[in-house]
Amino acid sequence: MSTDGTSLRTAEMEPDDRVEPGEREGGPVDPSVTDPATTDATIIGSPMRKSSKPQTTAPTAPTAAAPAKQGLSVRLEALKAFYGASEQVKGVDLEFRANEVTAIIGPSGCGKSTMVRCINRMHEEIPGARAEGRVLLDDFDVYDPSVDVVAVRRAIGMVFQKPNPFPTMSVFDNVASGLRLSSRGRGELHKKVETALRGAGLWDEVSGRLSEPGAGLSGGQQQRLCIARSLAVDPEVILMDEPCSALDPIATLKIEELIAELKSRVTIVIVTHNMQQAARVADRTAFMLSGQLVEVGPTEDIFTKPSDSRTEEYVTGKFG
């Protein structure tokens, strides 16, 4: 993985940036941010600042020491989300640790999807919708007025409930679309597309038909194509909004295996209705109810010894 486009881009960044992944080499840094030293170090190398600067540093050859890209932590602070006057997310404080899979469970309409859409600022695309509070991507507030939304969305990818490859594009173009749409398609496009498709576990199945329409793949393949599409832009975080709810069990299994593989390079937030799925894929699980976070903790604890009685009732199927 160290020779692919991923590490190339890392190498293009300023030198001070390289310190950051190095610090984490011993595994994901605990981002509960009680340690002020971690906070300081990460503020310097926040990716958002970087992408706004012109990349003047010539891409030096990636050294062997350049580690593969890692995910970033996401922290919600008093996050509220509104549709017009109705408050759907009512002040959530929640942390998604870097390079972990966090599942969000809860009954329909509890604000799971809305909350997740606030993380990459997709919520505000709905007319009349707005969000309050802070969303910190590695201590960088994505709601800061100086922030470019486009840069936020490049750092935080998203996979939707229904597989939605672009119908006018081929398999290849679908994966390349993120790079092209953000004007980063110059050079190595083929390599980046292949890397992304391999990353999504789809390369072996589609390498012979890259020029065929993306919409011609099966549902499960389409969803993995969508994952490849978001991987191609090289995000630090991937949000998945019920990615398997439109898929059959075998396709679901493949996506779940993929999630387990992907977490070494990205932080994953997955909204799911399927509690077994949460139990299978997630390191930590958060339970939401009517716009509020009830409980968050290691997945095993949430399912075996929840501290809140409402969580217990939900995971044991008493309601929801």
């Binding site: 990459n120 997709m122 695309e125 007319p127 486009v150 840069a151 936020v152 969305r153 490049r154 750092a155 990818g157 998203m158 939707f160 229904k162 939605n164 672009f166 119908p167 006018t168 594009m169 081929s170 679309s177 993120g178 092209r180 749409l181 953000s182 004007s183 329409p213 919409a215 011609g216 969508c226 599409r229 978001s230 832009v233």
Partner: protein
Amino acid sequence: MNAQTPSSEKLARFNVSPARRRRDRIARGTILAATVLALIPLLLIVYYLLSKGLSSWSPSFFTTDPTGNTFFKSSSIGGIKSAIFGTIEMVALASVIAVPIGVGVAVWLVEYGKNSWFAQLVRFFIDVLTGVPSIVFGLFIYIVLIVGTGSSFAGYKGALALSLLMLPVVTRSAEVILLLVPGALRESALALGAPRWRVIFSIVLPTALPGMVTGVLLAVARAAGETAPLLFTAAAAKATSFNLGGFMNSLPVQIYSDVTSPTTAVVNRAWGAALTLVVMILLLNLIARLIARRSRLA
């Protein structure tokens, strides 16, 4: 029903009752009759166009300009070359003006204006424009560009009148098609970190293209068949002209002036011209559909 009802009678309630069957037949018959009724005038038009128009078609019909010698024998009246070229030139110019503006307005309405009061106002005026009789556009251009400037008739003035006529049709149809583009596609493109204008140009417009072509064609067909906006803007002319600044002939105006002629041969030329117009629009339709199908991957 009481308990003593024989079982055969019980089963009978699952049969379609004669009354229902009758109503079904009447309803189906009515719909079929309506369809046939609607087809009759269409078929008659095609029949008359072919039977009367084809007889005046000949190679020289398309290659000569009308001579204006309408009182002599039929061989000397000339063809409709100038009208064909005039129509093509003016409709092309009108499309070049109306299509980008119309699509632009539609994109603004769907992607930016949405339900704001200004967007609603724009929609209202577009609807009003759609209902404006075509002669009003002709009069408007006549008053502004001919009477107002004291200048003469010109092909480009005709094209402007036609573009005014096309604009609301293009806008409305493009808006409807753009609304059909699934929001999920826009969302997934935005979530990839694409700027909004990129999403519109690379995702929304290509997806909507086949539908928009249909809408544009509808507008082109309507403009190509209009007489009124051209009567006092481009006027009628005899010679073929490639100068949009001068008088310019067109098929509808040619037809209009020909059918009012007392000479049978000239009236027949009107039929020939009408058939030509219909065939041209049909060809355009086929070509555009082919292009639209090619451009789509599926």
